[in-house]
């Protein structure tokens, strides 16, 4: 900073040195209150007997104890396990395959890539509306197959308590697999061609090239895809509401729909808050180590 003896300039210098903090402070205050303050408040509520409105009567672990006895919560957790594992696995496989295929000097790549990725720009409510009808046996795919003469064709998963969760997987994969493709493609394009050429001269087959050289180099892309997809899976709410409404019955309930219905429609705010805390902890368990590693790497 310039050294001045003039008091006017001195004030300006002091103001200048305070400005950065001043500019940052509104966002900082907003974050501390609306994110971390709110998290603290919700955690606090999860230990109270709040029903329709917040109450400040401390009940200890009672809400958590009750939460894990509620049948619907256990259904939601089982569904999340099924949904998340299939969603992550299928998106990764499709995304990786499409990325590798697109990376083979494909003619029309500029047309195909945006087609694979556009569902990511849509709202889950739009996706749900489209798929709900496509999957409806009365007017969708099943009906079309019947009209084409395949009378025995049956595809009524969306009405089937056992199978309905898989329709959510299907629609979610449709929406996000192109995004995973884009992540892998970016990774593939960053790989040094000289190494590949050298390996080819040594007589490595394409399969060996991918297994030994390319896939190991995509490790960061795999990690990012896993983190982002699991984060999306745990937060999934809109798609379930639009596609099945959590039904039939509560066969497709997920933690996010459970939280909403217990808090706002069933007036069990304490239990709702407890379920939100569990969701936060699950995401934190995945995100914190990842973000920590990313931040350290950058330094």
């Amino acid at each position: 900073m310039a050294v001045t003896t003039d008091t006017g300039a001195d004030f300006r210098t002091r103001l200048q040195s305070w400005l950065p903090k001043l500019v940052l402070s509104p966002s900082l205050a907003v974050m501390l209150i609306f994110v971390y303050g709110f998290i603290a408040f919700t955690i606090y509520l999860s230990f109270t007997d709040s029903r329709m409105l917040p109450s400040y009567e401390w009940v200890g672990w009672q809400n958590y104890d009750r939460l894990f006895r509620v049948r619907e919560w256990n259904i939601a957790l089982t569904n999340l396990a099924i949904f998340a594992s299939l969603y992550i696995a299928i998106c990764t496989v499709i995304g990786l395959m499409l990325a590798i295929f697109l990376d083979q000097k494909i003619r029309g790549e500029g047309i195909l890539r945006p087609i694979f990725l556009y569902p990511m720009a849509l709202s889950f409510i739009v996706t749900g509306t489209a798929w709900k009808w496509f999957l409806d046996p009365a007017i969708g795919l099943e009906n079309t197959m019947h009209l084409w003469g395949w009378e025995s064709f049956a595809f009524d998963w969306i009405k089937d308590r056992e199978m309905a969760i898989y329709t959510i997987v299907l629609a979610a994969v449709w929406q996000s697999s192109g995004f995973v493709m884009a992540m892998f493609l970016a990774g593939l394009r960053g790989i040094d061609n000289e190494i590949l050429k050298a390996a080819q001269m040594d007589g490595a087959s394409n399969f060996q090239l991918y297994r030994r050289i390319i896939l190991p180099q995509l490790r960061p892309a795999f990690l990012s895809a896993f983190v982002i997809l699991s984060h999306l899976a745990i937060k999934s709410y809109d798609l379930v509401i639009a596609l099945t409404g959590g039904g039939p019955g509560n066969a497709t309930a997920l933690p996010a729909t459970f939280m909403y219905s217990y808090t706002f429609t069933r007036n069990q705010m304490g239990i709702g808050a407890a379920s939100a805390v569990i969701m936060l902890m699950t995401i934190a368990a995945i995100m914190v180590p990842y973000l920590y590693a990313e931040l350290r790497e950058k330094k």
Binding site: L24, G37, V126, A130, N193, A242, S275
Partner: protein
């Protein structure tokens, strides 16, 4: 780096190339079909949908479903069509996008060019805040909006989207400005340029791409949001996604599928348009929010 060209060194046989093209085309069909069929069926009279084949083109083309979805369809209790809700979404998204981008840019500038103790911790906290499940803030947010007397209003939603968007925009601008030569900032400082002058004259002129990323990504997220809209906006102030869901899921009497489809396409149109016009930045935004954490 010259090596990171867009083409790789792999050669494949012509048989496997045919297979590759086949798979790629099949997937293109998989991604296009649901939306394409929806588009086609939004132009059919209802009788052709319930009694006909979904893949078939309309025998009788009609834009009636579109007109109905836009201005007369029953949303909740009012036969207003989706138009007022479309306007709600615009009134909500535009200020929220602008505010979160402006603050994100300034925050990114401060965090990268004005070092002070605790910057890393602040950034870490900000980063984590981008990834919280919003269920954890729903209850206190409902209370605060009530206390501020903006519960159930579009203004309330602007606040909510600003608050939970500014973390992401800060992340974008911070990563972008981190690569910007700090020497230029120092040189301007020695020349006596002030805090805002440096921002306007030196950083802002080269911020075009990241502003585009921030605009597009924020707009897409805010326009497509359902959870906050469903939680904090009631009746007439609901955003488009909530209105669409009401149209599709709570219509009594005959289910007018063609109207639902027209409505869904209307809800998708703005973000889809942005994607078509500026897809490059859309992809960059996805990456900035994930790979670069």
């Amino acid at each position: 780096m010259a090596a990171a060209s867009t083409e790789n060194a792999i050669r494949s046989s012509s048989f496997s190339r045919v297979l590759i093209y086949l798979v790629l085309l099949l997937f293109a069909l998989f991604y296009l079909l649901p939306f394409g069929i929806m588009l086609v069926n939004s132009l059919k009279p209802l009788s052709e949908i319930t009694g006909g084949n979904m893949i078939a083109l309309p025998r009788e083309w009609t834009i009636e479903p579109w007109l109905s979805a836009w201005s007369t369809a029953q949303i909740g209790v009012q036969p207003t069509g989706l138009r007022p809700y479309f306007i709600n979404s615009i009134v909500m998204a535009v200020p929220a996008v602008l505010l979160s981008t402006i603050f994100g840019a300034l925050n990114g500038y401060v965090l990268t060019k004005w070092h002070f103790p605790g910057a890393t911790i602040i950034f870490g906290l900000l980063l984590f805040s981008c990834f919280i499940p919003f269920q954890i803030v729903l209850i206190p947010m409902a209370r605060i909006l009530g206390i501020l007397d903006i519960a159930g209003t579009t203004g309330g939603l602007v606040l909510v989207h600003f608050v939970y968007g500014v973390g992401f925009t800060t992340l974008y601008f911070r990563n972008y400005y981190a690569a910007f030569p700090t020497e230029l900032v120092r040189a301007a400082q020695i020349d006596g340029a002030g805090f805002f002058q440096i921002f306007y004259r030196i950083l802002l002129p080269s911020s075009g791409p990241i502003i585009a990323v921030s605009f597009i990504w924020q707009f897409t997220n805010i326009w497509n949001d359902f959870l906050f809209g469903a939680s904090f906006a009631s009746g007439g102030s609901a955003p488009m996604t909530v209105a669409l869901n009401n149209l599709v899921n709570s219509s009594t009497g005959v289910r007018e599928y063609n109207v639902h489809f027209a409505g869904a396409i209307m809800a998708a149109a703005p973000t889809l348009l942005v994607y078509i016009v500026a897809g490059r930045y859309f992809v960059r935004g996805l990456m900035a929010g994930s790979v670069k954490g």
